[in-house]
């Protein structure tokens, strides 16, 4: 059933496959983001309560969703590396971590920027912001651990274990923070009623989200290729590639 996947466990095949995939990801993400962002920032209706400051939502929410999704993807990669000894899965987890961290940081910064007009302060200990901050800490832990090892294969395994521990803890942390928040603050003003969003706001949001996801795919492909090269630098095919590159230029 999984036979068709086997060639992709070979680093060389994956390297070239990602090389072919990546430009398409880039083109599509550019297209989607161009349409989505112009629609969202210029044409979508302003929120009747929040005015134009609401438009940061089109960047903030995709970034927040992606930061969590990427952590989950990283944990899945780490699990498959531990269970099935897939060496490439380590590389993909390592490729994903910094992207997720950047999205978490974007979500935090846009969240703070949104909070200033909304709540009159850059930071409040809102449950969602707090869990996003802790998610960023978890990402930074994974990245720091990965960087601390000299041997990239060991680094991948260690970071993978940490990502798995983190993914088990993430929901616990999330709910404990939410519970802590309601306990200490009473009912916070919920930022937006998700189900009651008008379709004129919903469509640009969806297009933006798809655009950011495709951008993630493109960057992940690029980083994955670099990771493969770094881990296989002593292999003949990498040498041949390097020779071909230098002769070509």
């Amino acid at each position: 059933m999984w036979k068709w996947l086997h060639p992709y466990a070979n680093p060389e095949v994956s390297y070239h496959f990602c090389g072919k995939l990546q430009p398409w990801f880039f083109r599509l993400s550019f297209l989607f983001l161009a349409i989505g962002l112009v629609w969202a920032l210029a044409y979508a209706p302003a929120d009747y309560q929040q005015g134009d400051s609401f438009r940061i939502f089109y960047i903030h929410v995709p970034a927040a969703i992606l930061s969590m999704g990427i952590y989950f993807a990283m944990a899945v990669a780490a699990l498959s590396s531990l269970v099935w000894q897939l060496k490439l899965a380590d590389a993909s987890a390592a490729a994903l971590a910094p992207i997720g961290a950047v999205f978490a940081a974007i979500a935090l910064i846009t969240g703070a920027a949104w909070g200033k007009p909304m709540w009159g302060t850059w930071w409040i200990w809102d449950a969602r912001l707090t869990s996003e901050l802790i998610l960023l800490f978890l990402y930074l832990g994974v990245i720091a651990l990965h960087n601390a090892f000299e041997d990239k294969n060991l680094a991948g395994k260690a970071a993978g274990i940490l990502a798995l521990v983190g993914v088990i803890n993430l929901p616990i942390i999330h709910y404990s923070v939410e519970w802590w928040n309601t306990l200490h603050q009473g009912a916070t003003v919920t930022k937006l009623g998700a189900p009651s969003m008008a379709s004129s706001m919903y469509w640009p949001f969806l297009i933006c989200f798809v655009g950011f996801s495709l951008l993630t795919g493109a960057i992940a492909c690029q980083r994955f290729r670099t990771e493969i090269l770094a881990r296989n630098s002593m292999r003949p095919w990498v040498r041949n590639l390097a020779i071909a590159q230098t002769q070509g230029s």
Binding site: L82, F137, G141, A158, I161, L162, I173
Partner: protein
């Protein structure tokens, strides 16, 4: 003809063996027990000096101070869990013993808790007096520490196991471990706060107990896997 060795192994004996060994070493090296404890006491006494001696303020933030200090003291003491064993090669021998790594790791964590967690619990009421903790809160403080400090040791062990092979792992360790401690901190301090209002806090205790049993069953596996990577 070769005679292969195969005998029945007693897991309980192996567990007791490792606990006894770690306790023996710690008792002959008393700094390891006393220093984290001193750190705990000093950190707690710093807060009144920084915030002011007003009893009402202190008693309101006392649970948070005690728990954060306990967290940091545990973090400081975590290093001794695997570091010296890794440095002198006994960790390798443990991984090569026929006993399941799970048992040995659990034994080391239990020993670590007896050496560092238990003294914290014993000294905590004294510090609570210094911070004017509400009288109703003492039971909650003790119970949360009793259930919560083992979780700190268990989760911390994962972090140490991951960083034991790294030369400058100390700061990295805190970066890895502290975010994992957040749920324990939240529920423990909330239980103590609730107790101060004379309200039932069994819900929070139940959650800390759940965290305890969850980490008790899962953490030793993660530690075992991490140690295999670190000694590779």
């Amino acid at each position: 003809m070769t005679n292969l060795a195969q005998q029945h192994l007693s897991y309980r004996a192996a567990f007791a063996l490792v606990v006894k060994r770690d306790l023996t070493i710690a008792l002959r090296h008393k700094d390891d027990i006393i220093n984290p404890l001193l750190f705990f006491i000093i950190v707690v006494t710093l807060f009144p000096l920084g915030i002011g001696p007003e009893a009402n303020t202190l008693s309101r933030i006392a649970p948070g101070i005690i728990w954060v200090a306990a967290l940091l003291a545990t973090l400081l003491s975590l290093d001794r869990l695997f570091k010296s064993d890794h440095a002198d090669g006994s960790l390798e021998q443990m991984l090569l013993s026929p006993h399941p790594i799970f048992i040995l790791v659990l034994a080391k964590i239990v020993a670590h808790w007896l050496i560092t967690g238990l003294p914290l619990i014993i000294i905590a009421p004294l510090l609570a007096v210094l911070l004017h903790l509400h009288e109703q809160s003492y039971a909650a403080l003790m119970l949360t520490l009793l259930l919560g400090t083992p979780v700190l040791s268990l989760l911390g062990a994962i972090g140490v196991a991951l960083t034991v092979g790294i030369k400058k792992g100390g700061v990295l360790l805190s970066l890895l471990v502290l975010p994992l401690y957040i749920p324990v901190l939240i529920f423990a301090t909330s239980a103590i706060d609730t107790a101060a209002l004379s309200l039932p806090y069994s819900g929070q205790l139940a959650i800390i107990a759940a965290l305890f049993f969850g980490s008790l069953t899962l953490a030793p596996f993660a530690v075992g896997a991490a140690l295999k990577v670190s000694t590779n």
